[in-house]
């Protein structure tokens, strides 16, 4: 417990090695990591969390680097989490985002971490959210989450962000645009990067036309289309103004509260799922006993499953009592049978 407290304290103090170590434990889901995150959640919530997503090669890492440099000039500290895909064949990965961010090196106000998409299904969004919480609690004013916009897991990752920028580049065909349909819906800001290239105006026009199909209701956010040349920093100041405008709108409209609530719901659900899943593994004594009982003594599998889940929830409540606020009656946290109510 002291070790836990001290790691959290060191993270809050902004110690690089402590932040790095906690991020490793988050990725590995090491024992005790939930308690550290619980301690940090209460000290987080100040940072503006910006998601940057889009196709590979669109210039996201270059843009993130330019954004961070601009934030730094304005005196704001920056944490960056750059997610790159793991190889499906070997599980390994080559994480190259840092190459584009070398201009930020040597600045203690910037912390960059590369994360691969590996891990258990559903594990990446949770790791990304915990990583965001870590950098937020470490005092970063802005946390930028870069992720490749392909696949559901990547789209889920981006929901950890308050403001989502979707990057396009000139000359992408309609087919590509369509395949990004899932991403276009999550965009709070559209970025047309590589605007130094032919066709940039046309891409801006296409996106603007598409947005016009679903105009915002009064008081709703008007999604802007911003042109940038990440490689030179052109348009990046304008982009930050849009991000800040979106953040102000989130606060004023109440949408920020709704998004925070959605994030909390996901966090509670992930923790609860793991508390239960931990006992549903061969090797856990209660689980093995239940399997024995049903296989060898003709026990009732449904009753055995209920008992396991109830016992898991009981143990979880005790474990969690030390570290987190009592769950309220958030509908997203309840399960279909209501068996979580005790």
């Amino acid at each position: 417990m002291t070790a836990t407290a001290s790691l959290a304290d060191r993270v809050v103090a902004g110690e690089q090695a402590a932040i790095a170590r906690l991020l490793t434990r988050i990725e590995r889901r090491s024992p005790g990591v939930d308690e550290v995150i619980s301690a940090l959640v209460r000290r987080a919530g100040r940072a503006h969390v910006v998601g940057v997503t889009g196709p590979p090669g669109g210039g996201k890492s270059t843009l993130v680097s330019a954004l961070a440099a601009q934030y730094r000039r304005a005196g704001r500290t920056v944490g960056i989490i750059a997610v790159d895909p793991s190889s499906v064949l070997s599980g390994g990965a080559i994480l190259g985002d840092r190459i584009r961010m070398s201009a930020l090196a040597g600045d203690a106000g910037v912390f960059i971490r590369s994360i691969a998409t590996r891990g258990a299904p559903g594990g990446l969004p949770r790791a990304a959210l915990d990583a965001v919480t870590t950098l937020d609690a470490a005092g970063k004013d802005v946390v930028v989450l870069e992720t490749v916009g392909v696949g559901q897991a990547e789209v889920d990752v981006i929901t950890a962000a308050q403001t989502v920028a979707v990057v396009s580049v000139p000359g992408m065909g309609d087919a590509v645009q369509a395949s990004k349909a899932g991403l276009l819906e999550v965009a709070d800001v559209h970025v047309v990067n590589k605007s130094d290239r032919d066709g940039a105006a046309r891409t801006v026009a296409e996106l603007t036309d598409m947005l016009r199909l679903a105009p915002p209701a009064p008081g709703q956010w008007q999604v802007p289309v911003v042109s940038t040349v990440a490689a030179t920093g052109e348009g990046v100041g304008d982009l930050i103004e849009r991000f800040d405008g979106h953040r102000a709108w989130l606060a004023d409209s109440g949408e920020g509260q709704r998004r925070a609530r959605r994030t909390t719901a996901a966090r509670i659900r992930w923790i609860a799922e793991q508390l239960v899943a931990d006992r549903l593994r061969a090797g856990h004594p209660d689980f093995d006993r239940a399997v024995d009982e049903v296989t060898e003594r003709g026990g009732d599998p449904v009753a055995a499953a209920r008992r396991l889940v109830q016992r898991g929830l009981g143990a979880g409540a005790e474990d969690a009592a030390a570290g987190s606020d009592p769950p309220d009656s958030d509908p997203a946290g309840s399960d279909p049978e209501g068996s979580a109510r005790r």
Binding site: A20, R21, R28, R29, P31, A93, S102, R113, A277, D278
Partner: protein
């Protein structure tokens, strides 16, 4: 708790090029071999400084930092790396490996500085993978 087997955790390796030497074909081949062995490889890009590389390796919390040099300037560069490492608030857990072309007598000097392994240019991918695995196991124990 539920750690899905500590030795199934992907090993994290940083591969770095320092100084003027602008050849990264060899490093790219090594990066692919390590990735194909299931490791996560963070590549620094060319022309980094010792300060930048150590800072990156700390932030990425890698198990192994591999520095590849073809420029012949390995002795001053590695001694600078270890100076920077010595100035960190706490000793890092990563092992430092030297790769590239260097004469035998320099290998001895590098080891004395604290380089864990020297892998010459003809080292096979199999040997590189096995070496990194061994060093990463020790680095993980320091986690």
């Amino acid at each position: 708790m539920s750690a899905p087997g500590a030795d199934t955790e992907p090993i994290r390796v940083m591969l770095a090029k320092i100084g003027l030497d602008g050849h990264d074909r060899g490093v790219r081949v090594v990066a692919r071999a390590l990735r194909d062995a299931g490791m996560e490889v963070i590549y620094s890009g060319l022309h980094r400084s010792p300060e930048q590389v150590v800072e990156s390796a700390v932030q990425e919390d890698v198990d192994v930092l591999g520095v590849s040099l073809l420029s012949g300037a390995h002795l001053p560069i590695f001694s600078r790396i270890f100076e920077v490492v010595a100035q960190l608030p706490e000793p890092p857990r990563f092992a430092i490996v030297a790769g590239g072309v260097m004469p035998d007598e320099d290998c001895e000097a590098l080891r004395r500085m604290g380089v864990a392994e020297v892998l010459g240019q003809d080292t096979t991918p199999e040997v590189i993978v096995a070496t990194v695995r061994g060093l990463a196991r020790e680095a993980s124990a320091r986690l």
